[in-house]
């Protein structure tokens, strides 16, 4: 029981407190690739602390949604951090509260809440951002959910821990068609959800922003919370991609051994960052309306190979 509590705490605290670090590492490595000096890897923390100390401005026309949703969304991401194998490859205390599909739906719930709150601010810019996001999410969320179902087809359960264990013990299962294409589709979705370069560039905010558009009216404490939850989301998606799809190995679940998972997870995530970095520095950003094409490809692949896996074991 003690071990279980320890594991739960480790996973939860790891996700909450280390997720901004990965954003920092990403920015640093990107700067290095572009031969700049770049910010410190702790820059996201500094940003969050700075914002927490600032005053919060709230638009006159907004209602309670605008004020409370950042906290609720943060809470939703915290719940997801407890139910999917993002650090510990073994069920922890709250795992039983939802399955993999539940995790996917919670992601959608958080996205929906954030969009509703952003609309509530009544600003034109956020309205534009939300409408973009809505038209993209038709395919994006659909693909996300489909991919989560696809992975459960390999093992026949909807439990990501079982899937992880199965993939570790059966290396050849990693090469089945449904797994390969679910991975490709999920990787594409990952790039979209985390706003990486072929789809969204942090540089030119108004023109290319998709996800950033939601934060347009937020300031101070609320903005800090929002940023933090988006770091958590990025980490969660990345960790699922790593542990269930791309690279399920090397995690340990025994009592003192689980502490080793922390450096291993950091290492694996840095690996993922490097892969993303290659894509981000070699590809050009696509035009905004081509994002839909990109998502359509991801969606098609996930559905098609989901169906294929029904016929071809």
């Amino acid at each position: 029981m003690i071990t279980l509590i320890e594991e739960t705490l480790t996973q939860f605290l790891f996700v909450i407190f280390l997720s901004p670090l990965f954003a920092g590492i990403f920015a640093r490595i990107k700067a290095m690739v572009e031969s700049r000096k770049g910010p410190s890897i702790f820059q996201p923390y500094y940003d969050i602390f700075k914002l927490l100390r600032k005053d919060t401005l709230i638009p006159e026309n907004s209602s309670f949604l605008f004020r409370y949703v950042p906290y609720v969304a943060f809470g939703v991401y915290c719940i997801i951090a407890l139910i999917i194998p993002v650090v510990i490859p073994e069920p922890i205390i709250f795992t039983a509260s939802a399955d993999f599909l539940g995790g996917a739906i919670l992601f959608s719930l958080a996205a929906f809440l954030k969009m509703a709150a952003a609309m509530d601010s009544g600003s034109n810019f956020t309205a534009m951002g939300v409408s973009r996001l809505m038209s993209f999410n038709v395919l994006g969320e659909g693909a996300l959910i489909t991919v989560f179902i696809a992975v459960s087809l390999i093992t026949g359960t909807n439990n990501p821990y079982v899937t992880n264990a199965f993939l570790v013990s059966h290396p050849s299962a990693n090469l089945t068609l449904v797994h390969v294409f679910a991975t490709v589709a999920f990787f594409m979705i990952f790039l979209y959800e985390t706003g990486k370069i072929p789809l969204e560039s942090a540089g030119m905010q108004e023109l290319g922003m998709i996800d950033e558009g939601l934060n347009y009216e937020y300031s101070g404490k609320l903005l800090a919370i929002n940023k933090w939850s988006s770091y958590i989301k990025q980490y969660l998606l990345g960790a699922v991609l790593l542990n269930v799809f791309l690279f399920p190995w090397w995690l340990t679940a025994s009592s003192p051994g689980f502490l080793l998972d922390i450096p291993i997870m950091i290492g694996k995530f840095v690996l993922l960052i490097l892969i993303v970095m290659v894509i981000e520095t070699t590809l050009a950003k696509v035009r905004l309306f081509k994002v839909l094409d990109y998502l359509a490809v991801a969606f098609t692949f996930s559905i098609l190979f989901l169906l294929l896996s029904e016929v071809i074991p």
């Binding site: 090469l175 969606f299 692949f301 071809i312």
Partner: protein, 213 residues
């Protein structure tokens, strides 16, 4: 890694080229996509020729690569118009096409397969009868390409894709006598030559008042 899973993954690659062609706006990319597709199918023929120890399949692979891959690509690519208004197809809505395509595939292929083809026992690939699904998917993908596009070139590519699906199907199920296979190839080649005569006259195909009803 054994041969059946190699064939399985390669045929998945064929399917990807089919989707690549479906999503292409540029005519020349679609034509090159066809080249890649034929080459992959030729590669499957070579793998099968090796495992089955069959000289017919070897000839088939060589024919596929040269007639379909090289010659048809050359014939079509030489005729793509240089005018900017023609070398890509405008008004292609990729997400819409893909979603309709998906529904079409599900309705046609999966239902057709489960009704008609699921009991087939391939002579060439006895342990993986489900691989027959790939040629069927490719066939209906080619059909969808023809119906969803207005350009002569893309429609020809769609037709060649259908023929590729036939070859793949025949290869998987059991190799048809080489005389017939070869004459099929020549037929298709001649048809493409004939079609390319039309590309000189007409690049896009729309509804016509004269041909209504």
């Amino acid at each position: 890694m054994n041969f059946s899973s190699a064939i399985y993954l390669t045929s998945a690659a064929v399917l990807i080229t089919a989707f690549y062609i479906q999503g292409q706006r540029y005519l020349i990319s679609a034509i090159r996509g066809q080249l890649v597709q034929s080459t992959i199918i030729a590669a499957i023929a070579f793998i099968l020729a090796y495992t089955e120890n069959s000289i017919d399949l070897l000839i088939l692979g060589i024919l596929l690569f040269f007639l379909r891959g090289v010659l048809i690509t050359y014939l079509l690519a030489a005729r793509v118009p240089m005018k900017k208004a023609y070398y890509f197809e405008s008004g292609i809505n990729v997400p819409y096409l893909f979603l309709v395509d998906l529904v079409f595939m599900v309705v046609s292929v999966f239902i057709l397969y489960s009704i008609a083809f699921s009991g087939l026992v391939p002579v060439t690939l006895p342990d993986s009868p489900q691989d027959l699904l790939f040629p069927l998917l490719l066939f209906f993908q080619g059909l969808f390409l023809i119906t969803s596009r207005r350009s002569t070139f893309t429609q020809i590519v769609g037709y060649v894709e259908e023929e590729n699906a036939l070859v793949l199907f025949a290869m998987f199920l059991l190799p048809v006598p080489i005389v017939i296979e070869a004459s099929v190839f020549l037929d298709v080649l001649a048809l493409v030559v004939i079609s390319s005569v039309i590309t000189v006259e007409k690049v896009n195909h729309e509804q016509m008042e004269e041909l209504r009803g």
